[in-house]
């Protein structure tokens, strides 16, 4: 009988110890890094991929774009960074270039014969600054004049209160003829994001 009691006590001790250790371990493991847990309403890498995949596909498949290519040959296009018109959001230079740069990369990869990509002036001068590092920027932008520009304007409606933050984005892409300023192609990507605030937000 005494032996049974001892065994039971010993079992309880191990159980309690294990629960304590598990609890503390769980608590410590729960303290994840400051950048791995949160959720915000800004445009993310997922949006970048979805949006640019969608836009590249639509440009390449657009009948008017195809007609222009058939009439003029490969379109000479300059890519400009995204214009930020979003409410209460910033779009740093790198991101502003990435959102149009990926469209160019996709088109250059999948329809190389349809488009000739001309480096924009800012990128050219930035690269020229690195000539000493062995980067060859190519001919001056003044020597080549593009016929079209690929631009994007991001706008958003955003609001924040004590309980949530929400943003509704409209990201509009345009392929415009630089000579007569007509828009050859335009499309938009729309997404709504809501982040609900928790106890310590």
């Amino acid at each position: 009988m005494n032996a049974d009691n001892e065994k039971m006590k010993s079992g309880c001790f191990y159980l309690r110890s294990s629960a304590f250790i598990c609890g503390v371990t769980f608590l410590l493991a729960g303290c994840s890094s400051a950048v791995s847990q949160g959720h915000n309403t800004a445009l993310s890498g997922v949006d970048l991929v979805q949006m640019t995949d969608d836009m590249a596909m639509k440009i390449a498949g657009d009948p008017q774009v195809q007609a222009a290519i058939a009439a003029k040959g490969a379109l000479k296009v300059v890519v400009l960074p995204v214009e930020n018109q979003m409410r209460a959001e910033v779009l740093p230079q790198g991101q502003a270039e990435a959102f149009v740069g990926r469209v160019r990369t996709l088109l250059a990869r999948h329809a190389p014969q349809d488009f000739t990509w001309i480096m924009n002036r800012d990128t050219f001068y930035r690269l020229r600054g690195k000539e000493l590092e062995g980067v060859e920027p190519g001919p001056s932008p003044d020597a080549i004049s593009p016929d079209y520009s690929l631009t994007a304007v991001f706008t958003s409606l955003a609001d924040e209160d004590a309980k949530h933050r929400s943003s509704f984005y409209i990201c509009r892409y345009e392929l415009a003829d630089l000579k007569d300023r007509t828009v050859l192609w335009t499309e938009s990507y729309e997404v709504k994001k809501i982040a609900v605030k928790g106890m310590l937000d």
Binding site: F13, Y14, S17, S18, F20, I21, V24, T25, F26, L27, L28, A29, G30, C31, S32, S33, A34, V35, S36, Q37, G38, H39, N40, T41, A42, E83, N84, Q85, M86, R87, A88, E89, V90, L91, P92, Y125, R126, R128, G129, D159, E160, D161, A162, H164, R165, A195, V196, K197, G198, M199, L200, D201
Partner: protein, 427 residues
């Protein structure tokens, strides 16, 4: 026996890792304290050197250390790095659920410092303001506008006199961001929105009418943004639980008016060099605070339990005997122990962004294009800049952090800008 030993070893390991973490945290705090002292004495390079490794750690101090780093990078015009630091902090500040899971539990049960610091509302607003200022200096008015708008998001206003007041969302009256937002719209060519925002400032802050004048700002080709004084400090009461902000504007005295001299000639800025904000005053307003009540409740309950335990103990000692007395003394001990535990874990989180100024003066000026020597003077502070470049068109913006022990003269361009312009010139 082996299992018992294994459990013991695990517990010891956990205790040691906890103690190790504590030592690391203390060392980090020493680094921060030294960096803050460097900042106060105008030694920005050393402050940057100390803060950079801390800002890389994605722990509970990630946001605050990046804000501190951003602050020390601004005066020497290390704008790229300052932008990166403020952006890192901004991203987490604007995120929700950062403290989900273990951190919330830890902050409630153990120590509030476990939570990822996101700052009080006035600190978050200033973080957005500085990010916007960087873009404004670079004449990237689209992004400046976005950041200033973010600084103006709604606040939770709670009436402290109404115990059950659930609060309501109110428009921010952060005049500094409204003013800069109006200026950003003006530079973007959005006359309608610029006028609306200038008007908003004038209506809510009549003393800033001259500063928010549309025409005056349109003509301005030199903008001085001057940080003066130091912001509010979190203060605790005798048992380290309840937090407030100090000093009050009354204790600190009124904000002085700056004098600006250009090429030795004093400028008449008496009606425009007015402080758009006073962070000491803002910190006293409930809507600019997010001090939660967890630790206050824990502290109050802890005090109650200690008193309850003490009374039970005294009663048991005087009026009870035998088993009854023993039981009551055990209850008293348990109450006091629990109360002490609650008090011990209700210590206030006093982390704060020490570099914040008391106010930021925004001084738009119209001067002849070219290079100018500019002096900004307060009764006890002075800063001199030589060869500030002023354009014929557009507006050049210069940020100055008034420091008692580092008044210059500083030469424009500073090394960081020289490096950048050198790169551009080689193009």
């Amino acid at each position: 026996m082996i299992r018992r030993c294994a459990s013991l070893v695990l517990i010891v390991c956990l205790a040691l890792s906890g103690a190790g973490g504590g030592c690391a945290s203390q060392k980090n705090q020493q680094q921060v304290d030294m960096a803050v002292m460097d900042y106060y004495s105008g030694n920005y390079a050393d402050a940057q050197h100390k803060l950079t490794p801390l800002a890389e750690k994605t722990n509970e101090d990630f946001v605050i250390n990046n804000l501190r780093l951003g602050s020390v990078l601004l005066p020497p015009y290390e704008l790229d790095e300052a932008e990166a630091a403020f952006l890192r902090a901004w991203e987490v500040i604007n995120s929700t659920g950062v403290n989900a899971g273990g951190r919330t539990l830890g902050a409630v049960l153990v120590d509030e410092k476990i939570k990822v610091w996101k700052g009080e509302p006035f600190e978050r607003a200033m973080a957005s303001f500085y990010l916007g200022l960087i873009y404004y200096i670079r004449q990237d008015y689209g992004n400046a506008r976005g950041a200033f708008e973010n600084a103006l998001f709604k606040l939770r206003d709670v009436d402290p006199d109404k115990a059950k007041d659930q609060g309501r969302d109110v428009e921010s009256d952060f005049a500094l961001a409204s003013l800069m937002l109006a200026k950003s719209f003006q530079r973007l060519g959005r006359e309608d929105l610029a006028k609306a925002n200038f008007q908003y400032v004038i209506e809510h802050h009549p003393q800033l009418a001259a500063l928010a004048d549309y025409d005056w700002n349109e003509k301005s080709n030199l903008l001085l943004v001057v940080d003066y004084g130091y912001g509010p400090r979190k203060v605790t009461d005798f048992d380290g639980a309840i937090v407030g902000f100090g000093p009050t504007p009354f204790e600190e005295g009124p904000l002085p008016q700056p004098m600006v001299t250009i090429d030795g000639r004093p400028m008449d800025i008496s009606n425009i060099a007015r402080p758009p904000i006073d962070l000491l005053a803002m910190a006293q307003e409930r809507k600019w605070q997010s001090i939660d009540t967890i630790r206050t409740v824990k502290s109050a309950v802890g005090t109650g339990l200690i008193w309850g335990g003490a009374i039970t103990g005294i009663d048991a000692a005087n009026n009870k005997s035998g088993n009854r007395q023993r039981d009551n003394l055990i209850v008293a001990g348990a109450l006091i122990g629990t109360g002490l535990l609650l008090k011990a874990t209700s210590q206030a989180d006093i982390r704060q962004w020490e570099m914040l100024p008391r106010t930021t003066y925004v001084i738009p000026l119209k001067v002849d294009p070219g290079s100018h020597d500019v002096t900004v003077e307060f009764p006890s502070h002075r800063q001199v800049w030589r060869n500030l470049a002023v354009p014929a068109r557009g507006e050049a913006t210069y940020y100055m952090r008034m420091q008692r022990w580092n008044s210059g003269p500083f030469d424009w361009p500073p090394p960081a800008v020289q490096h950048q312009t050198g790169e551009m010139a080689s193009n």
